[in-house]
């Protein structure tokens, strides 16, 4: 069971499993007794079957377009975004679009090559659950989520940039 870090740094365990994209011609291998995250486009393709289920969420890869779920995001209990490599920054834009443009309010989970020093960027871009790469020291997550007490610019965490806070 993965350790999941929340934005306040507390750690919990849950049993959401990430179901990889099936090979060409194969079908999705969804475990029967565990909640599962499936590729977002496949959730949409099987919408009739999956909608309303609290044990099915989706995941986006970094090159995927979150636009495909516009209008439906809040039907999902969990959306995950995969960082295939920590230096691939597309997931930050995906996070912000899901929250700020499509109004997603449930759990947004960072998965993949999730390291300590990127946690605060993820938090600012709307993520609120983080599955740290297992070789990293999870006890340092809280500190790394809070290196900065504020930011200059607006993001998902606050829509008020510093120049407006200074004025008030």
């Amino acid at each position: 069971m993965p350790n999941v870090i929340a934005s306040d740094g507390t750690i919990r365990q849950d049993n959401w499993v990430v179901v990889p994209r099936p090979a060409e011609g194969e079908s999705l291998d969804i475990p029967s007794a565990q909640p599962a995250l499936i590729p977002a486009d496949l959730w949409l393709a099987g919408y009739e079957h999956f909608t309303g289920r609290q044990d099915i969420g989706v995941w986006f890869d970094s090159h995927d377009e979150p636009e495909i779920l516009e209008g439906r995001v809040n039907e999902l209990p969990v959306i995950a975004v995969n960082f295939p490599k920590f230096s691939d920054g597309r997931g930050y834009s995906i996070g912000r679009l899901l929250r700020e443009r499509f109004g997603y309010v449930n759990e947004l989970r960072a998965i993949g090559d999730v390291l300590l020093d990127q946690l605060q960027f993820m938090k600012r871009c709307g993520f609120d659950a983080y599955v740290l790469r297992p070789d990293k020291d999870i006890t340092k997550a809280q500190r790394c989520l809070n290196f900065f007490s504020q930011g200059y610019q607006a993001a998902t965490d606050t829509d008020i940039p510093l120049f407006r806070r200074r004025a008030s």
Binding site: R90, Q150, A155, D159
Partner: protein
Amino acid sequence: MYVYDEHDRQMAAERVAQFRDQTERALAGELAEDEFLPLRLQNGLYVQRLAPMLRICVPYGMLRSDQLRRLARITRDYDKGYAHFTTRQNVQLNWPALEDVPDILAELAEVEMHANQTSGNCIRNTTTDQFSGVQSDEIADPRPYCEIIRQWSTFHPEFAFLPRKFKVAVNASEHTDRAAIQVHDIGLQMVRNDAGELGFRVHVGGGLGRTPMVGPVIREFLPELDLLTYLEAVLRVYNRYGRRDNKFKARIKILVKALTPEGFAEKVEAEWQHIKDSPSRLTREAIERIQAYFTEPDYADLANATDLLAKQRFENREFDQWLAHNVDTHKKPGYAIVTLTMKKTGTPPGDVTDRQLEQIADLADDYSFGEVRVTHQQNVVLADVRQDRLLELWQAITPMGFGTANLNTLTDVICCPGGDYCALANAKSIPVAEAIQRKFDDLDYLYDLGNIDLNISGCMNACGHHHVGNIGVLGVDKKGEEFYQISLGGSSHHDAAIGKILGPSFAREEMPEVIAKIIDVYVDKRTEEETFLDTYRRVGIDPFKERVYA
């Protein structure tokens, strides 16, 4: 000049604490080399051929005298007593120890300096014209907008891991472009529309490197209040769609070319519609608040010292030459803009010792309200010098080595650190610059040749901006030997152009003679009024080819 408030100070301190923590984890083996890499790069730290190199940010080139003195102290305490002014208006130290860098950053933070985002695949230091605020033909002072962009881009959570580095430049002059905005990822030209409102013409996708390109205009007029939301839209499109599979195709220019400028502009426009009216839209008060830091210094009420200067020039020919080349017209009567050249032959272009940094600080205090500007030509500007003190200043700087009256001439070379220091370089650049400076040591001849931009890069990364030199020199590696390829006809000004390659490359020792032949062709072919670039544009590259490869 901008002064930190409690918010800036707090974030600067938090950044130092963060990097100290990261460095400790890296030294303890908790961060792999490739995991630490972008963290140290975004704090200015490269690992170079001989030692780490620390690139310190000088926002849009502005430095106060106390900051110069602190830099001098840091070069003494942590380095070998000298520093290097870069072609991006920043300052580099060549020999700091990795474990000292958090302490150096803490010392910098005490004087409101940092090394944030001076490297790495993020938004870099925004640059502008070194004569901002003191020239008469500017639309508005661009520095407040540069500072607004600096704050917006600092630690931006969405854009810390872009496909590649990202550079923004702002120009406000109507007639000149000293910031070379058309060869930046984003170039912002300040303009007024027909209604007299202030805004920007937005160029996106210019750049040097392996695929040099002049940035096309993707928006003719962007109102000033929309600056940040529009930048955010451009960056978001780039972050999502810029190529990440090939480092050499990852700059925004490749995306703009692939989508066409019109297609790219449409995508940006669509993104921008969603965010243009968000609270990130600037307010008049926010701009005015930053503008208040860039008010005029306490100028004396003076008349132009025309008669005095005429007399002094008549009596002293060298002073006359210096005045003609290294001093520019100021918007305020009785004042002048002085460029201190860091191009004395025998010294690597842009290099200064700790003592020279302190001398520059003293000059700033004595002659120019305690401030200087660093130029992308690797020189230093005293922007507010009284005309009646120019002779005294010239006498003071000549023994310091800052008075070489070669500004904008052939020997005012732009030059990267090259193979002497840089791990990326294919070839040395500094000895080439020096050999050319030695060949052309007759100032009268240089003046007769007029303005010629000679730019030298030690590799394709083009830190020496060779593509936009009237004469560009690129170091190349041929079977382990250093050779130099020449291009002609480049320009970084309003008439921006990428130079054309002359032909096969040359060995280092041939270079001064080759440059001399190129200059000879110009002297033979020019008409009375023509600059080197004018002549090149009229006669084309063939006469140069014929002479050089004869």
